[in-house]
């Protein structure tokens, strides 16, 4: 075998793909020739593709599905592994292909969860019909509070409490999005109250509750959802799970969603299984707060 054969294989891989046997041959030849630039033909093909393709926007439904995939990627801990895996190997295509083969098996439960997600999404289509219009009608009108900057900023503290962090945000930031929590049903049976403040610039916010029933985290947890006007309303953004401890009084939770929030219109809290869910069945909505984009 000569480098010419390796060249043929690399061109074939860049243009029409190679079989597993051919890839093994590339691995063998490239190892014996200590070759560099094994992906140069693929990069050439990619550059040609860029030169010849007309870009069209991704449809909203595909984008929404991709955002969920991204959220799963982050939540599953795969993102945290990217740097580690990259640093420890996978620097060549053959390494990457090997990694990809190994990951096919890892991906099975991921796909299974996606199947479950789609099943849930199907039922969600039914549920949303009765849920969403009711929310639009029943909640307080949206309000965007333009908070003027404070002349005297509070002195920074070493470890501010969540309440102090929230107050600092309110005092120092303009264009915050705010809203008030309300129960979806009878306030007599679910006297939840409180508010939400969201900073579109830092993509962080705080939710404050009173009257929300304490939970046993081994039985269920509360999960925050963010409805974004620029996303399919069937798939709100996951704001994370939290617990309400067994004590009276106000509870503040800071949240920092993994997916970018552009135009939030409503926040919701549901009760879910421990650890939360990818898509809520929305059977136990405990609090709602309608807001407007800041």
């Amino acid at each position: 075998m000569t480098p010419d054969r390796l060249m043929d294989l690399l061109v074939k891989r860049a243009s029409e793909g190679v079989t597993a046997q051919e890839q093994a041959e590339i691995d063998r030849l490239s190892a014996s020739h200590k070759s560099a630039g094994l992906e140069s033909f693929e990069r050439a093909a990619a550059a040609l593709t860029l030169a010849g393709i007309d870009e069209e926007p991704m449809p909203a439904n595909v984008r929404a599905r991709l955002d969920k995939t991204a959220a799963e990627f982050v939540a599953s801990g795969e993102l945290a592994k990217v740097g580690r895996d990259g640093a420890s190997g996978a620097s060549s295509l053959s390494d990457e292909l090997a990694v990809r083969r190994e990951r096919k098996q890892e991906r099975t439960p991921f796909r299974a969860s996606r199947l479950a997600w789609f099943a849930a999404a199907a039922s969600l289509l039914i549920a949303i019909a009765g849920w969403w219009p009711r929310l639009r009608d029943g909640l307080q009108p949206p309000q965007v509070v333009e908070t003027p900057p404070k002349v005297e900023d509070p002195a920074p503290k070493v470890e501010p409490t969540l309440a102090e962090q929230r107050e600092l945000l309110l005092a120092s930031t303009q264009g915050l999005v705010q809203g008030n929590w309300a129960p979806p049903g009878d306030p007599a049976t679910n006297p939840v109250a409180g508010d939400i403040v969201w900073d579109p610039k830092t993509q962080q916010g705080y939710v404050r509750f009173t009257g929300l029933k304490s939970n046993d985290p081994t039985q269920y947890q509360y999960q925050l959802w963010i409805f974004d006007a620029e996303q399919d309303e069937r798939y709100p953004i996951d704001g994370g799970v939290f617990d309400i401890p067994t004590r009276e009084g106000e509870v503040i939770v800071k949240f920092d969603p993994a997916i970018g929030v552009k135009s939030p219109v409503m926040f919701a809290v549901t009760a879910e299984k421990p650890g939360g869910v990818v898509v809520s069945s929305r059977e136990q909505i405990v609090a709602l707060a309608k807001v407007a984009a800041g």
Partner: protein, 186 residues
């Protein structure tokens, strides 16, 4: 200089994952539509492509090319893989679409990157029949045999044109091929 999106993903920045979608969704979607048989295929493919991109982010080396080229390289691998697995299914594109030579106006595209401009310049130096081979193979995902059948060229000629074309583009991109040297001159 701002840190690249892919480097941020490699560093565990969750927001960069979302920004990556924002930045490259149009490109990846457009390529997926072109190199898949059905819209449903394209929708599935983009999920896999972006997952591949995120997983491969640590491999991105700015010295080897731009993020766009890296993303398109990953996207092409995945799409070619899917095409070959579904190779018995019929194609959706018409002959007229396949015969267009789309690189002639590449330099006038607003979002084109330096590598794309250079690739277009390299292709412009090839003969029309060589350009056609690259068009059918690279932009439309036809195999060498399919190109031969469609154009009437001998298979060996198709392979030669593909090889020479990619070598020429690679040279214009000034991409080092290390000690993988070309035996036959174009």
């Amino acid at each position: 200089m701002a840190e690249s999106l892919l480097n941020r993903i490699a560093g565990g920045d969750a927001r960069a994952v979302s920004e990556c979608i924002e930045h490259f969704s149009g490109l990846v979607w457009s390529l997926a539509r072109r190199l898949t048989r059905t819209r449903a295929d394209a929708e599935d493919a983009v999920q896999e492509i972006f997952t591949d991109i995120w997983r491969s982010a640590a491999r991105f080396d700015p010295a080897q090319g731009s993020e766009k080229v890296f993303v398109m390289t990953i996207a092409r691998r995945r799409l070619i893989d899917r095409l070959r697995r579904a190779s018995n299914e019929p194609r959706m594109e018409s002959v007229e679409v396949l015969d267009q030579l789309p690189w002639s106006d590449a330099t006038s595209r607003a979002e084109v990157c330096v590598e794309a401009e250079r690739a277009a310049q390299a292709v412009a130096r090839l003969r029309p029949d060589q350009q056609q081979v690259l068009n059918l193979g690279i932009l439309h995902g036809l195999t060498h045999s399919e190109i031969a059948a469609r154009t009437g060229m001998p298979l060996g000629t198709v392979k030669t044109y593909m090889r020479r074309g990619l070598i020429q583009v690679r040279e214009w991109l000034e991409v080092s091929a290390g000690d993988v040297t070309e035996g036959a001159q174009p």
